[in-house]
Amino acid sequence: MNIAINTTMNTTKNTTLHTWVRTVAAGLLIGFAGLAGAVQPTTTALPGDSVYQLPLPLTDSAGTTRDWRNLRGKARVVSMFYTHCQYICPLIVESGKAVERQLTPAQQKRLGVVLISMDPARDTPAALMKVVEQRKLDPARWVLASPRQEDVRAVAGVLGIRFRQLADGGFNHSSMLILLDADGRILARTEQVGSQPDPEFVRAVRQATGG
């Protein structure tokens, strides 16, 4: 590999160096997460249609970077968003809450909500934490996290979410909730966002969280 060449180059391109260092750091973190994963019970192979087939280091609102395979073991409602979004994205948070409200406390415990940023440049842990606090999200159930910039397209790809960055830094994107089973297989999706949840989707969530 071209480590020497890269280092030389990066003396002139600081941002590239940062990216590189971050990549290495993320790699180390995944390594540690992998070690930790070895003692956990979920040692069976991932199904081929699991979205967790994609290696994806996520940095959450607490600043912790872990591969999203750590989300395995629990049904999840997943969506993509960005914190600078004024209108629809708050609706996505609201949609997640609305789905939760349709569940019994036991079902709520068996469900996690995961919001993945499509704007990692601006969605730092602090920016994500601000949303967690403002929207009073329970950190035991909600994960707000940013992927690396180079992984944004791939994660949107496995989730089937379409987006386009606009000249002003905002995004056009499909607003969608996706239900994953404990192994990361897509069970259901809905494009109905807002405080009135899609009854079909809620039914699927109830089923995935134990009836």
Partner: protein, 261 residues
């Protein structure tokens, strides 16, 4: 370590106007930047999009080249690639997971590849898929002009390909004359993945065109077409916008691009 110094050198030479075909290993052509009016109506870029200088593969990736890739990266072999990255028909025209056979001659463009596989191939070369704007910019040229799109003869020539049966066997890459940048087969051979295929949020339902707020997209809404005369390019957009990243089709291949420093 995605962009070693070598990439910069390879790009800098042709862009500086030096005939450096051999240095670029013959595989990439350098394209200058410019402001480009896309067939897509970008509400956020009404006066055109700025294309930065980049390099684009002269020809689409062939079966032979893709075979070499799956041999180096067996996780991309048919049957080993997780379903989330490639549907069941991925490389289904090959005789076996690492053999081409009569239906996939080595000099024919590789098709039946998913976006994830195409993306992984380009990354393995320290390259990437071109963006839609880059692809459209390169494909607007003919043999002598950077932008031939207003020429009805050019349009007819491109359109005639779409009228041909897709059941016919694909010709080999590189049979058509290079465009002004030295890039071949952008039209008339296959459809091609772009890096941001999943950005092409064109609502397939025309009834929603006038009312983007009703669509399923957050923000300024779905894209619409600015140049309805340019059917050939519109069809590409419509096709790409209908695909998921794991999809593969009989006519969909790709080529790679590299950013200039």
């Amino acid at each position: 370590m995605r962009k070693p110094l070598a990439t910069w050198l390879l790009l800098a030479l042709p862009l500086a106007g030096i005939a450096a075909g051999a240095v670029v290993s013959g595989r990439y052509a350098g394209l200058p930047g410019g402001v480009f009016k896309s067939v897509l109506r970008y509400e956020d870029a009404k006066n055109g999009v700025r294309i930065k200088p980049f390099a684009l593969m002269r020809k689409p990736v062939t079966n032979g080249e893709f075979l070499a890739f799956v041999k180096r990266h067996p996780q991309w072999q048919r049957g080993r690639t997780p379903a989330v990255f490639a549907e069941a028909r991925y490389l289904s025209h090959w005789a076996g997971p690492d053999t081409l056979g009569a239906n996939a001659l080595p000099d024919r463009p590789v098709v039946w590849v998913s976006w994830f596989a195409a993306d992984a191939y380009c990354q393995s070369l320290d390259a990437r898929l071109p963006t839609w704007n880059e692809w459209e910019y390169a494909a607007a040229a003919d043999e002598t002009r950077r932008d031939a799109r207003k020429d009805p003869v050019w349009r007819e020539r491109i359109l005639s390909w779409y009228a041909r049966s897709s059941k016919d066997a694909l010709p080999r890459v590189g049979l058509q004359s290079p465009n002004v940048y030295g890039v071949q087969d952008l039209h008339g051979l296959i459809w091609e993945w772009t890096q941001d295929a999943s950005s092409l949020m064109v609502d397939s339902d025309n009834r929603n065109q006038g009312d983007p707020d009703k669509g399923k997209f957050c923000g300024a809404g779905a894209l619409s077409m600015d140049d309805r005369e340019n059917y050939a390019v519109m069809m590409r957009v419509a096709m790409l916008s209908s695909l998921e990243g794991r999809d593969a089709t009989a006519n969909l291949g790709f080529r790679c691009a590299r950013s200039a420093p």
